[in-house]
């Protein structure tokens, strides 16, 4: 298919439809509403189901029902709406039902503001709901990458029987870029042994947590550990001039693009900076840190308090000190990042 110009949110929705998504239920909130709007006309075209629900709580609940039937499903939200999805995400993890959820992050606590942000990092990666679970989280940095990751998101969700979160932000959701779509996939909802079917198969099925079948607890505990150990093997990242770098920036999503600019600017001036760009936020790509020995790591993220920086600190243990550059309300320029790195090298910034 030829390249087309498309808004990030629309492209994400189209990519989901092409990956076989046939059910979307959700609630409007800026800057994700275009996903909902696009799905409202696009899904009926392919005999899919779109429902604008009374709340995000109901949206994820309805999705939970449809996903339990083996269908590829999606919901999306942002900010306070993403918080309301957490109840459902915890249930989807406990009942081991795959789905894809997009968080088009906005800035601030409470109602906050519609500006792009990366401040749901901890909520996305460290189980934002109750209990202990994780969701594989994919963080594209371009619209094309978001499109390319969509079928991968469903594959990972179904392989591990767990929700997958696509983590983007208001900037990636709103900008327009040229993009090429893959051919549409056919998804057979009846291929799974675990799903609810049209006719009861032999013994009846209960979509519920394994915890009710193991009253001693040991098997359940190990089952949970094994599930998430298996997911941990799915690390994905990009290295950009990382091998020989004196300073390594660690950054994802829209901000990683500013970091690439910083790397090029520094290198033009003969200073070797590099970048590790996590594509999976969870599992965090710790393997990327094993074979490099810079003098410092700098986590660059668009939030007010260090969030991903904590994971960078864990991954960089014993390798080099970690610094945190949080840009809050602002998208940083390459030059600002380079001058922060310069201050780090001059000993003017405190270690995290």
């Amino acid at each position: 298919m030829a390249k087309v110009l498309m808004k990030g949110n629309h492209a994400l929705a189209e990519a989901a439809v092409r990956a076989g998504c046939r059910f979307f239920s959700g609630y409007p909130i800026t800057p994700q509403s275009e996903i909902l709007e696009y799905m409202s006309w696009r899904l009926p075209e392919v005999n899919g189901v779109f429902v604008q629900t009374e709340s995000e709580l109901a949206g994820i609940s309805m999705l939970y029902g449809a996903a339990s039937c083996g269908f590829r499903t999606m919901t999306s939200s942002s900010g306070p709406g993403f918080s309301l999805l957490q109840e459902g995400i915890s249930y989807l993890c406990s009942t081991e039902i795959p789905t894809v959820i997009a968080d088009i992050m906005r800035y601030g606590n409470g109602l906050g503001d519609i500006k792009p942000a990366q401040s749901d990092y901890l909520q996305i990666t460290k189980n934002g709901g109750h209990g202990d679970y994780r969701c594989i989280s994919l963080a594209p940095s371009t619209i094309q990458e978001a499109v390319d990751l969509m079928s991968k998101a469903y594959e990972l969700a179904e392989k591990h029987r767990n929700p997958v979160i696509i983590a983007t932000d208001g900037a990636l959701g709103q900008i327009v870029e040229s993009v090429e779509f893959p051919d549409p996939l056919q998804h057979d909802p009846d291929q799974f042994e675990w799903s609810l079917k049209n006719i009861r198969e032999g013994k009846h099925k209960i979509v519920t947590s394994k915890i009710y079948y193991d009253y001693i607890g040991k098997d359940y505990d190990n089952h949970i550990r094994e599930r998430y150990d298996a997911m941990k093997k799915e690390e994905l990242w990009e290295e950009y001039f990382a091998e020989d770098a004196e300073v390594i920036l660690v950054s994802y999503g829209i901000v990683s693009r500013c970091c690439k600019e910083a790397v090029l600017t520094a290198r033009e001036n003969g200073w070797k900076i590099g970048l590790i760009r996590p594509i999976t936020l969870w599992p965090f790509p710790v393997k990327a840190f094993r074979k490099i020995t810079p003098k410092a790591f700098i986590a660059v993220e668009k939030c007010a308090l260090p969030q991903m920086a904590e994971d960078v600190a864990m991954a960089a243990r014993g390798i080099a000190p970690v610094y945190s550059m949080t840009t809050g309300s602002f998208i940083p320029s390459g030059e600002e990042i380079v001058s922060f790195a310069q201050r780090v090298m001059d000993g003017k910034e405190a270690e995290l």
């Binding site: 046939r22 059910f23 239920s25 189901v49 429902v51 629900t53 009374e54 709340s55 709580l57 109901a58 949206g59 609940s61 309805m62 999705l63 939970y64 029902g65 449809a66 996903a67 339990s68 039937c69 269908f71 109840e87 459902g88 249930y91 009942t95 909802p189 609810l196 079917k197 049209n198 006719i199 009861r200 013994k203 009846h204 099925k205 209960i206 979509v207 519920t208 947590s209």
Partner: protein
């Protein structure tokens, strides 16, 4: 009337409700109806928490564990992708009338093609007998220890009347306090199921039921309480969509 309530094969083992609990009787009525209509193989229920969540341990249709209060949304999600299945929710008064009232109302507002069996026992059973949206004046619960006072708690929620105000397929309220009422309730459940099978939209049956454990009464006293007090406040009958 000495019609016997035979045990349906859908109930594959003894239930674990307390003796004299309304859930045991109501689930049996539902199972009988599903078998009479020959849809026991294509029925899926959404149950959340409350004593209702014990149902899948004795009732052999397919089930999904919904979040507290969200069963109507979960069931609607199933029904929309599996329109030929019979999809129902089975909910207590805390579940459908308190935390999940938005989901209850919106199932009716969108006239989702699902059926709700709503068990009104006037308390939160599973959590130990707290005040529910349906608790009656003067009723002692663990959170209204001096008796429920309408001035503080408001009057009991009439969910059947509320949902009947929407453009839905069928709404009725029954009781299981004696055999006469019980057979009527079975008919209400059957009409509700048929409403869904015929594609006439959302159907809802509220059932006044005893919770002897938390009412601190014997099963016989509990049934009498429903007849003498419960049915005076909550009027039984078909509220919408019936033949009457």
């Amino acid at each position: 009337m000495t019609k016997e309530l035979k045990t349906p094969t859908l109930i594959y083992t003894a239930n674990t409700f307390c003796p004299g609990c309304g859930h045991g009787i109501i689930s049996k009525l539902l199972a009988l109806v599903l078998e009479e209509l020959g849809i026991e193989n294509k029925s899926t229920g959404a149950v959340a928490v409350g004593c209702a969540c014990l149902l899948p341990e004795s009732f052999g249709c397919d089930w999904i564990q919904a979040q507290h209060g969200r069963a109507p949304a979960v069931a609607a999600g199933i029904k929309r992708v599996r329109p030929n299945n019979f999809v129902f929710t089975y909910q207590g008064d805390g579940d459908a009338g308190a935390i999940g009232i938005a989901e209850s109302i919106y199932a009716a507002k969108r006239n989702e093609g699902i059926t709700t069996i709503f068990v009104n026992n006037g308390v939160f059973g599973m959590t130990g007998g707290q005040c529910a949206p349906t608790t009656l004046e003067g009723q002692k619960t663990t959170t209204t220890q001096a008796g429920c006072d309408y001035r503080y708690n408001g009057k009991p929620l009439e969910l059947a009347e509320l949902l009947a105000s929407f453009d839905v397929g069928y709404v009725a309220r029954g009781s299981v306090c004696n055999f006469k009422e019980l057979w009527k309730t079975k008919e209400y459940i059957k009409e509700a199921v048929q409403c869904q099978l015929e594609g006439r939209g959302y159907s809802f049956v509220e059932v006044l039921a005893p919770c002897p454990t938390n009412w601190k009464m014997t099963p016989v006293e509990s049934m009498k309480r429903i007849e003498d007090i419960g049915m005076k406040y909550f009027r039984c009958g078909v509220l919408k969509g019936g033949a009457e």
